[in-house]
Symmetry: C2
Subunit: 410 residues, 2 copies
């Protein structure tokens, strides 16, 4: 799509008015601050003109507009980010998805302690103040639950329902490798256990290689202290890996030379990938994308539509996103919003002129390893007919001729 | 500073405990979820052990921990971001600084209209829905008030007080150049007027070149709708330029071939730069930095200290930040957190071992144009002894031998 510098979009975007072109609108003189007057083809009623009323004074903490109340959809164990209501790549911290195994614990930061022990020279206990004194690191990255897929036969399902267990934050903390050096980790160590301080005492085994590479003990999120739902006062953060391994409310790390075979990596968070095959320690989140606009429950008009969405990969950067507007018959490159960052949500856009006929639109992500996001049927076949964790199919949206947008499986 | 992979920091970070090394702590057996037991040199009182109490279930909107309540410092016309309480580069939207000339208006988004008229082929009115249908763009960028400097003779002043009228968000909206094409701007146009819908009907003249280059009509901030204090439902955003030109609650843009000489660019927002010289239309924010840790009111201990801060420039990317720990006698390169983005807050860090003796620490930013952040005295001399807008001096922090950190002018 090329828009010439002096050429308006030819399929006029609806509801715009040419000034003076609306015959029913009263023509009034609006006196401006600069003393100039202009004729506007819109009526300005003094009573609801906000320029006539002194505004609210600055406060200690801002608030959302009462006209904008995005909410997560909570269940007893999770709540989902309203992706269809969001713009760009950041998730407001209070809308970050939640997935808890024993609820959100109340932890006094003055009592917080992180124990690191096991195959180390110096088992140690770190307070929160200790963690904050170490060299710090920040990174923008997505976090995604591995059980992040839902469909619906009637099509009445939103991006929030389908994959709202995806969010993005700037995480700040101490690199776990710094703490590994501090306690003197044994060269023979191959795994560590991360344990949370919640009522589930959530535990996962993580290869030492990930700990050395890019693991963070994060105490800050989006500029401020980590929110309670995200692990306050400190959590493990493993960029690109399934969310449950980024243990929240971290209280203990045990260094070992074998995995610990905790409940969450034996009975849970494994997936059947064939009639007699189960995959374990499938940590990395595969590349995925979803069109967030237009999506259910939106109703669109024919003409120009900017198809918008997000793409991400646990393996690195998104190298491209392809969009189809004819049910997968042909594909077009979407524009990616710079900067495209490693293991980070990437916004994509594709400008399209809809002729009003029924069709399916869909997106597929390709990451820098060459991995291509699969269709639902491909994924199901590769998994021996089993749905489960790490289910990242292409999502299609069906546009009815009346403009109603509905989910379609691929 | 080089930290060897297997070498702990030699000046031990205080309050960390070697496990079992604290003679007064009761040794208890902690039963973990994995069935393994370990001896910890810290007592675990069941009564305040959060693992023994089911946690709070997921909700529709998250909240801050009651232990963390960062606040802006409001006056009748502004409120300041608590920079000393923040981490990384993002400002939570509810902590974004405010500077209003007539308070925050209440605007019904369904009634919002943006008029673009003047030297155009087709004067038009755009609703919020219209703006959202155009191709969109996102960018992470700082916003700073041009009147963003304060000092204090007693040294008891925080980064929030000194330059808390600096914040950063990811802004999303429609490029103003897209709207210029839509209305058919005259080739003879050189300036446009931006007018806000607040009680002050805030107005500024902006060169067309900035409008074509990177101006945005922003309807989203940090993933969600722009907050009321930041211009809901839509604002002008001019990356790198003094905050007051990024007109909030934008309602009118008039295209012209001359500046409009509004109150805010004649009696206000000009600065005296010599005995008989006043600078007008000084739009671009100069490069600046501030150490946010350690800073007043912190009290630090001797040993390793990670000096942390933020740097930014309205002219482009930060190319380097230099830190002095000896009152400006010698300077060292700070590490910059990647990605370093154009006209964006950049986090810097410098690891330093404090011997406990009184000294001054300070930072200075250098941007990609080669501009070097000046000292207070240099700046004052260059301005003919006048303080005013665009005052961006190097800020020093004096470390007393008791660890108390106090502001020092440079």
């Amino acid at each position: 799509m090329d828009i010439g510098k002096d050429k308006p979009l030819s399929g006029r975007i609806s509801r715009r008015k040419l000034l003076g072109g609306a015959a029913t609108a009263a023509v009034v003189l609006v006196q401006t601050a600069t003393g100039k007057a202009f004729q506007a083809g819109v009526s300005v009623a003094e009573l609801d003109d906000p320029t006539k009323i002194p505004g609210v004074l600055p406060g200690t903490v801002g608030t959302r507009s009462s006209f904008e109340q995005p909410v997560k959809k909570p269940s007893p164990t999770s709540s989902r980010t309203p992706l269809q209501d969001l713009y760009g790549t950041l998730t407001p911290s209070d809308l970050h998805y939640e997935r808890h195994h024993g609820g959100v614990p109340a932890i006094d930061p003055a009592k917080f302690e992180l124990v690191i022990h096991g195959m180390v020279e110096r088992p140690m206990v770190f307070t929160l103040a200790d963690l904050k004194r170490f060299p710090s690191v920040s990174r923008l990255a997505f976090l995604e639950c591995s059980g992040n897929y839902r469909g619906a036969n009637d099509g009445k399902i939103t991006p929030q329902d389908i994959c709202g267990l995806t969010s993005q934050s700037e995480w700040t903390g101490v690199a776990l490798s710094t703490l590994f050096r501090e306690v003197g980790v044994s060269e023979k160590a191959t795994w560590f256990l991360a344990e949370g301080g919640d009522a589930a005492v959530m535990t996962r085994s993580v290869p030492m290689s990930k700990g050395w590479k890019d693991a963070i003990i994060a105490y800050a999120q989006n500029g401020e202290a980590v929110r309670p739902e995200q692990g306050y006062p400190a959590r493990l953060f493993l960029p690109g890996w399934e969310g449950n391994t980024s243990i929240k409310w971290i209280r203990r790390i045990e260094i070992s030379d074998q995995p610990f075979m905790t409940r969450e990596e034996t009975s849970k968070y494994t997936e059947q990938v064939g009639p007699a095959k189960i995959r374990q320690f499938s940590f990395t989140m595969d590349a995925r994308s979803i069109i967030t606009y237009p999506s259910y429950p939106a109703r669109v008009e024919k003409g120009w539509i900017e198809i918008r969405g997000i793409a991400w990969s646990g393996r690195g950067k998104i190298s491209r996103v392809e969009v189809s507007t004819d049910a997968g018959k042909s594909w077009h490159l979407a524009a990616l919003q710079e900067p495209v960052l490693d293991k980070s949500l990437t916004a994509f856009r594709y400008l399209w002129q809809w002729n009003g006929g029924p069709t399916e639109i869909m997106s597929r992500a390709v990451d820098e390893t060459g991995y291509v996001q699969p269709f639902y049927k491909q994924l199901l076949a590769a998994r021996g007919g089993n749905m489960g964790y790490h289910f990242n199919p292409v999502t299609a949206w069906y546009l009815q001729s009346d403009g109603q947008v509905l989910f379609r499986s691929t």
